[in-house]
Symmetry: C2
Subunit: 663 residues, 2 copies
């Protein structure tokens, strides 16, 4: 599933985009999916006036910079009606606007009412410029400091710097005030330990590794602050259910050189989890449990001592950061825990590979099922999504989907993050392309795979676009590159085949992924704020092509960064997603011999790894489907054609000659 593009540069004018909404008509035209937000906005503006706030910024995230959030934290969604996973809202006394990236533009048009401008970028500088035009000199621009990372805070601060407006953090969240009793309650489900069979190392080993890094750092930090939910979950091998699709739980951790404080609702911990955490008490490997709400106060007290606190500025909030004196901070983009988590050890790699084999079984079952059912007109987007979810659920160790299944037919696939609902679901047809972007949570790993298909006769454009997206996927997957290469300098290889004919896509090319954790796992990926690629990291590779109102294509695999077979230890990818592509959509004449060779080798790997599992699960029809769909492609069809042409001329000459002689 694609992430948005980090916007380092000003966006291109989206001139071709005409909004579905027609707010200048009388009465305004709105799609039926739009939500009426007039009353909510009026209430918020009342609160803003009471606090002398002229502009209020609301992000889509929670206090842990989570991408997926609990309903309770969906302030932006409640205020606007927009349910996309990324966006920023600014409300002034007379204006309101939403900024989001291209994955969500059409969705936003369908969900926003006419109270909202849609701004097609996520560039903070442009939000800043909009605010400068919307509010006068002297105005207060406010936000909740616990919902903005240090880096984002700094970007706003810089965008408004010297403008005569004040950026003013307010600890009371104004949306929550208005939301009131209607706001959902906090999570209360159990937090449990992951069985040892599914962990790469014990939490004590992980803690020891981080402490070693602290000791070896020239600044000698005395503590690491963890505010990302995945950090705490990974470090202690704990999981929960607080956030849909992500098995994490609300928590903070302050890991010092002598103590460990875990801020969490203690009553929610399973008995075994509690025992594991406190087995080393008292001592340096004893986890002291503290209330979730006490993290900030505790940190403030801790920071009064002779200490140095190490934290990640990409996702620690300004609200926490602000209680630590500047000289006691050790700032990096990501904490050492985030970086340790990103490089999977041998056992974690094996676990993720194994999860992908079972995941391939479910996807192959789905593709075969579609092949049979779609021509009968029996499947719509929603029932398709339910079916793949059910197939995954039947696989061993599955714990549900890793994100809301994207199941999009025809023009709906032009929305990169479209998900069908029971109300509005398009029927799948042999006359349209279909895009399925789904993933599973398994105790041993998280998966994410996209396949696009056509069961009838694709148009030449569809076939060419699909083939070029595939070429991009292949070109990046088979790239050999030096260690420590940043993803952003190689992701263009996934775009070049499209660029060649003036095509492109507007989302990121890939993202890290966890071991039974988030499907979008930082800090791995191909964007400017990702860390360099290292052996042991997993990333998705997912180029696409989208044609508004017509169709959408994406081909996504998860790949492990491995050492290449070069003299110097360069790196390359090992694709661990194991499902063949749609042969009906591949124009073989566009592929180079090297690309075909790669494809054939990949298909051989699929046969070797997935074939036996299909047989073990007695899925004979699926096994035969797999054999059919992984037949090697003829190598160098173009070369063959030329040779044939040459030989044909001579052959007919020979034939004519023989005929003449025989006559």
């Amino acid at each position: 599933m694609p992430t948005g593009c980090a916007m380092d540069q000003p966006p291109q004018a989206a001139s071709a985009n005409t909004d579905i909404r027609n707010c200048s008509a009388d009465p305004p035209y709105l799609p039926p999916t739009a939500i009426n937000t007039t009353a909510r906005l009026a209430a918020l503006r009342g609160t803003m006036r009471a606090h002398s706030v002229h502009a209020y910024i609301v992000p889509s995230t929670d206090a842990h910079m989570s991408e997926y959030i609990a309903e309770r934290d969906s302030r932006l969604g409640w205020l606007t009606g927009f349910t996309g996973s990324a966006g920023t809202v600014v409300v002034t006394w007379d204006k309101a606007a939403l900024w989001t990236d291209s994955r969500y533009w059409i969705q936003a048009e369908r969900q926003l009412d006419c109270n909202w401008e849609l701004q097609r970028t996520t560039w903070i500088k442009s939000i800043g410029l909009w605010i400068l035009e919307a509010v006068p000199v002297g105005a207060n621009i406010s936000l909740d400091p616990f919902l903005f990372s240090i880096d984002t805070w700094n970007s706003y601060s810089q965008a408004l710097h010297g403008s005569g407006r004040t950026l003013l953090p307010i600890e009371t969240n104004l949306v929550d005030q208005v939301w009131g009793d209607q706001r959902p309650p906090p999570a209360s489900s159990e937090i449990y330990s992951l069985p040892a069979a599914f962990t790469g190392s014990s939490w004590q080993e992980k803690v020891a590794g981080i402490r070693q890094q602290m000791e070896q750092h020239v600044r000698r930090p005395t503590a690491v602050l963890l505010s990302g939910l995945e950090e705490t979950a990974w470090l202690f091998n704990l999981r929960g259910n607080d956030i849909p699709y992500n098995p994490v739980f609300y928590s903070y951790t302050l890991l010092t050189n002598t103590s460990i404080s875990l801020f969490v609702d203690e009553t929610r911990l399973a008995a075994a989890a509690l025992q594991s955490l406190q087995a080393g008490c008292p001592g340096p490997l004893c986890v002291e449990l503290q209330e979730y709400g006490q993290a900030r106060a505790h940190l403030r007290r801790y920071a009064q001592g002779n200490v140095t606190v190490w934290l990640g500025t990409e996702y620690t909030t300004y609200g926490l950061y602000g209680v630590i004196p500047q000289e006691k901070l050790l700032e990096d983009s990501y904490s050492p825990v985030m970086l340790a988590k990103a490089v999977k050890n041998a056992k974690e790699q094996e676990l993720l590979r194994a999860a992908h084999v079972r995941d391939a079984v479910a996807v192959i079952q789905y593709l075969l099922w579609l092949e049979k059912m779609v021509p009968q007109g029996q499947v719509d987007e929603f029932s398709g999504a339910r079916h793949i979810d059910m197939l995954r659920q039947a696989q061993e160790h599955n714990r549900g989907p890793s994100f809301q299944s994207i199941s999009a037919s025809g023009l709906n696939a032009a929305l990169a993050h479209y998900s069908p609902s029971n109300r509005s679901s398009r029927k799948l047809s042999v006359d349209e392309m279909y895009l399925s972007d789904t993933g599973g949570q398994y105790l041993d790993g998280t998966t994410d795979i996209t396949r696009t298909m056509h069961w009838g006769v694709p148009t030449p454009l569809q076939k060419e676009a699909y083939t070029r997206v595939l070429m991009g996927n292949i070109d990046l997957s088979r790239l050999i590159f030096p260690p420590n290469t940043a993803g952003r300098v190689v992701e263009s290889f996934a775009r070049r085949a499209l660029w060649n004919v003036g095509l492109n896509y507007g989302h990121g090319t890939g993202h890290g992924i966890g071991n039974f954790l988030s499907v979008h796992e930082w800090p791995v990926g191909f964007q400017s704020n990702n860390v360099p690629l290292m052996a042991g990291m997993f990333t998705s590779i997912e180029p696409g092509y989208y044609r508004d109102g017509e169709f959408g294509i994406r081909i996504e695999d998860v790949a492990l960064v491995v050492e290449a077979q070069t003299k110097k230890p360069f790196l390359t990818f090992e694709v661990v997603s194991l499902v063949p592509y749609d042969r009906n959509l591949i124009d073989l004449s566009l592929l180079s011999p090297e690309q075909i060779q790669y494809l054939n080798a990949y298909y051989e790997t699929i046969r070797v790894r997935v074939g036996p599992e299909l047989q073990r699960q007695r899925l004979e029809e699926e096994y035969r489907w797999l054999q059919r769909n992984t037949e090697p492609f003829p190598l160098g069809s173009a070369t063959t054609a030329t040779a044939t042409l040459g030989t044909l001329v001579l052959a007919s000459l020979l034939s004519a000659l023989l005929t003449g002689l025989q006559a």
Copy 2:
């Protein structure tokens, strides 16, 4: 000529590198090229102690962040003996170290004495870590604020942040104090106007364009501060000779919405230049001349008013920046003048193209001359460099070389920036590769081209490496990409053919270039601090491969960013350097049919553009050489081979048949 790589990431350990110097031997071994710096260092340390400075940072640049500098500003060179164009020095009471990038590692080993550690990186964070280990808490770390850009200052400030050491600017330059009377005097040569035939527009038009940008900016800046020497030279169509190879002169400009202040030594202005600048006096297009040394005081006074000063943080010094109150600053990486200069208008493009045609004539003369002279053992690196300089000098509008000619044979070419001297110059031979990286200043444009050649039998490795470097040059040159693409996300295309076999190069892939200005012109290029590529920009494309102690390869062309022939207005490159590559070093079997097609099209362009000029200059032998060396390559030799094999079988069958029948 390559620039260093912007080091966003920590450097790889240069473990394979063993220093030529052996400082632990008794007595230490030093190459004869090393300079004894003991006395200079002792004097500097005396001054440091007098100022209570524990560590003093000395950069390689001047007060305008120039890459090339006048002797008078070569503080780092005087102090260390190292003459490379990029480096940073830190001296403490008992240690001294030089940081430089991989272009200069071997050169530094040959020039530094044992007083100096060589640090093989330019990453400021690593300089900071070294300082933290070298000086105690409480120490003062000092620098001259007029020799550090705002951005660099901030990086040091951040690297030392919270460490208990103080970063302390001292306006007196401590090296200058020690250098004393021996320091060369300031420049005194004439500053002159460029004839209108060689300018893209009048200086008044340029000023009007910048003022329009100021008016349209939401922050409404009242002034633009120009501290880059090229900015003032370009804006006023003036040139000088203050810095070797770069026709610029010491100056600052403060361009306000109502006035223009040019800070320069007025006595050096040619009469016509003075007249041009003051033709509009009094009025908004009158240039007021002020003393060069008054820039800071004037700026300080100006900044007391109700003003906003727009400046580029990449190259404005902290010394100037510091006199402007924060709220009166409008900071961008580059000033609008820098950006306007980077996008050449149609006339400037034509001028640069024309300069490259004459430049190609000189280079072709040189290549033919080498072909004849080298087998006779008549050429060494130094005489070769003098010969190409002389050939260029004979071309119309030439004003000398655009940088010190790099002329490197055999293992010397492994030093990317090696220049021969009369003392140490290797003889060119048919048994070694030879690398020539040279460029010219012409009134109509600046050129920069690298060709590598072999007149005998190259080794298989040399041939493969050369071919892969060429493939990289071709792959980037023919890339089609969307508008506003950052250079750093496409430069890997120049590396992939090398990466594929575990090879790479340690320098940048290209840099902007001026119209009779700098050969390395900011902010165009392929690094992280370059601006996105736009039609009208010129950049070099120069992949390479270097094998320590054996050989070096680089293939460099200058290319113009142009619109591609795609439906959407995507971009691509038009190569304007017009000299064929060495056929003796190309392994055609490695090239794809697309690469060969590209090469043949490029050669056809060379014939069309350079052929007539060679004939006009009556260089008939060179004309024939050009025809020979631009013969089209057979397309798809692999394909042809297959076809031939197929047809051969049938043909012999036919032949046998005919023979049999005739018998």
